[in-house]
Amino acid sequence: MDKYDAVVIGGGNGGLVAAIRLLQGGAKVLLVEKHNLPGGFATSFKRGRFEFEASLHELNDFGTKDNAGDVRDLFDALGVTDKIDWTEIPEAYRVISREEKIDATMPFGIKAFIDKMESYVPGSRRSMEKFFELAKTIHAAQAYSNSVNGATDKKVMLSKYANFVRVGSYSVNEVLDALKMPKKAKDILNAYWCYLGAHCDDLSFIHYASMVYRYITKGASMPKMRSHEISLALVERIRELGGDVWFNTEAVKILTGNDGIEGVVLNGGKTIQTRHVIANCAPHLVYGKMIDNVPERIVKATNARKFAGRGLTMFLGLNKSADELGIENHNYFLYDTMDSKKQYELMKKISTNKVQATVCLNRAYPECSPKGTCMMYFTTLFMEDDWGNVSAKDYFKVKDEYVKVMIDRFEKDTGSKISDSIEEISLATPMTYAHYCGHPEGDIYGYESQYWDGLTPRLLMMNEDYQNGIRGLRFAGGYSMRLSGYSSAYFSGDISGRQTVGDIKREG
């Protein structure tokens, strides 16, 4: 029987990084991936003369050599930065709400961001400065917490990062109101909220502010060959370090005994002996069908959690250039209302969800598609399981209708005309995500960043969650302690990988 120190189930962003960390810690590692490609959502696909990015809008917290973000530091440590050709995203975002007459294009860089905000919202400067000051402290506190593996010293926290602790329990809007930020400035600043998938009355300020801080101070990057390039670079690194990666291989069961993890059963019947598993998939799946006799405590803890947004992305290959079509920006947030709570409600149903986060990749990397063409992708989230109400019979019709809604919104909000120039089109729905990555309900954002289950409480309870779970079982990816998003998933793999190295030393 094959025997490994650790098995990583799933080769998404979290799993791939976890495997490298395990190998760097000296472990013998097998990574199994049920798809024929690595990366999970971090992949690309070809249609005609276009190679579409499957999911990455922009990688935040990467930065440049001279102004490295945490992701770059991590990639340096993993040994993959130089395997990938990067390009930088030109500006932060353009946010539009036609209804509420908001149309703002925001730059990277704190000073530029605050100046631009002041030009849109005179009188916002003071509150914006305070926002970035808070965000800076949060970022520093997080760096401190990471450096001590989450075992923070209360005294240090209170003396050096007191503002972190003070804002730590509040939602985005609670803090921004306390800063007396003008409404319009709040609206523009909150534009990124859909990247985290919880509305600003519920979303933890710490989580949001640290993300905005990372974007605005470090900019954002994109691998030139789409995220497939990152995923292949990570696999290459795993193999260089002597790890095994098996594709088209699904873990169907995780074997447990009195002392926790004992092995993994693969499709095709092979059993792998191991005492450690890092699952790059949903606890709902692991405890719902992969492990028998799950203790009641775990069932309860799993039931407590709420699925985050179910994903939908439309991909368009256009037979005219971005200039010709009048597509001016790299990424757009198009909302009905800037009231994120109201918008969140509208995002529950197919009939009312018209939100989109849209990218024209050529605006960051002009050569990403042939001359005279451009490539776009439009993403939205569903805050309820409405696609569960769509039967297979109606599926294609619902898709075709939804495509029209998305195109219409983009054309009306931005004034560019794209519908006549569509050469390639593809729509990935929650069913597509359920099929490719196996996630429940086509959820692409893990567990929602609700107030009680946000970033801070998850990090504070990281060790407790492990102790209350099954010995030898840790998680990586969007469902785990760093929540969803590319950088977060990479960090979760980093954390779980290193922790498992410790577990192996301690637990054998």
Binding site: N36, S44, K46, R47, E51, E129, K130, E133, V165, R166, V167, G168, S169, Y170, E174, V175, A178, P223, R226, H228, E229, L232, E236, F247, N248, H284, Y287, G288, K289, V294, V299, K300, A301, T302, N303, A304, D385, G388, A392, Y395, F396, I422, E423, E424, I425, M431, T432, A434, H435, P440, E441, G442, W452, D453, T456, P457, R458, L460, M461, E464
Partner: protein, 382 residues
């Protein structure tokens, strides 16, 4: 300009709230219901119908359509759904080889959804199709994967009028479309030009003659026979113009020689680019000096050494040797056979359809690559 954030009146309340975060979450986790976790979800169940895992299917019907073509009907263990024009992959064990081929689905989408049945119409032409023609019998079991490909009507980008161009067994996806239009799963106007050598070679002729639907018009074009009710020659601009006016999207399915000819004819009419769609064809073997190479193949923790004929694709050599390896389109385009090249030289048939990063990191598509030296590959399990 350091400032002290204060939300509550005294500030220390903010600190207490922070320390409560853990208690709150702990209580939430402990007090949730102990109801068993779901084993599946509605979206995931629908996804299984739209994208079934490879299915073990039973051959339940064989109909001879023409001297060299038969339609095989398979019973699926579940319902499935697809867009008319998409293909399935049929896999069988023939002798020691595990072989698969892609075939356009000739039955309608609703037949798969309502009756759990799928038909493939196969022309006897080579190794796999001859096995089907000569040996396959009712009751036999196969593995069927479906649905794949983008050869279907896309309402957002295509004109609502499709001009179908079918050559020989290329009629199959259009037959599914015709049934789909009749049954209401598809909604577009179809003018179909169906080319064959003689009237005898027209598969589905009787069924097609019975079609009576405002949205469908069928024109037979015979290259080697002249008779009433048939156009004669190849499918040319002149013939197309006789039956079609206004904007249309052309969809072509047939041999590569037909594509070359018809593409040029369409270009004369100003129809090109996104308005012309082709179904891919399987990569054939190549003409080279006879030579065999050694192919070392890693699949999971097994290592195999097999012979590779310089004339055959790497995929064919692996299948011939009895390895279970992934394959779908066999045309280089779907990426399902994606394998890591450890060492060795190869040539790609036709255009390189890999993802950009694949070439960079040394991944190849064995279905459309021939060996030019001994080779070593890491291949996913099939």
């Amino acid at each position: 300009m350091a400032f002290r954030f204060k939300k509550q009146i005294f500030g220390f309340m903010d600190l207490i709230r922070f320390t409560k975060l853990v208690d709150k979450r702990r209580a939430k986790l402990e007090n949730a219901p102990a109801t068993p976790l779901p084993v599946t979800y509605r979206v995931n169940e629908t996804a299984k119908i739209l994208h079934p895992a490879p299915l073990t299917v039973k051959l339940v019907g064989i109909v001879k359509d023409s001297p060299d073509t038969k339609t095989y009907t398979f019973e699926l263990p579940q319902k499935a759904f697809f867009r008319a024009g998409q293909y399935a992959v049929l896999r069988a064990k023939i002798g020691d080889s595990l072989v698969s081929r892609p075939y356009a689905i000739s039955s309608s989408p609703y037949t798969a959804l309502n009756d759990g049945k799928v038909s493939l119409t196969i022309k006897k032409s080579g190794y796999f199709s001859s096995y089907m023609f000569d040996k396959a019998k009712e009751g036999d079991e196969f593995t069927l994967s479906l649905p794949f490909g983008n050869f279907f009507y896309e309402s957002v980008k295509d004109c609502p009028h499709i001009v179908g161009i079918a050559g020989g067994s290329g009629i199959t996806p259009f037959y599914s479309m015709i049934k789909g239009i009749e049954e209401g799963s598809e909604d577009f106007k179809l003018t179909l030009f169906y080319g064959a050598k003689t009237a005898n070679d027209l598969v589905f002729k009787d069924e097609l003659d019975k079609v009576s639907n405002d949205k469908i018009k069928i024109v037979y074009v015979l290259s080697d026979e002249k008779s009433d009710g048939y156009e004669n020659g190849f499918i040319s601009a002149d013939i197309i113009k006789k039956y079609v006016d206004g904007d249309f999207t052309a969809m072509l399915c047939g041999p590569n020689a037909m594509y070359n000819f018809v593409d040029a004819e369409l270009a004369k009419m100003g129809v090109s680019g996104k308005f012309v769609k082709h179904e891919a064809n399987c990569t054939a073997s190549r003409d080279v000096k006879p030579k065999t190479y050694k192919l070392t193949v890693h699949i999971q923790d097994e290592v195999y050494t097999v012979e590779a004929d310089a004339a055959d694709t790497i995929l064919t050599s692996m299948e011939r040797a009895g390895l279970s390896v992934p394959a779908r389109c066999r045309a280089g385009g779907c990426g399902f056979c994606h394998s890591k090249l450890v060492s060795g030289k190869f040539s790609i048939a036709g255009a390189d359809k890999r993802r950009l990063a694949d070439s960079k990191f040394g991944y190849i598509h064995p279905c459309c690559s021939y060996p030019d030296s001994d080779m070593e590959l890491i291949v996913p399990r099939g």
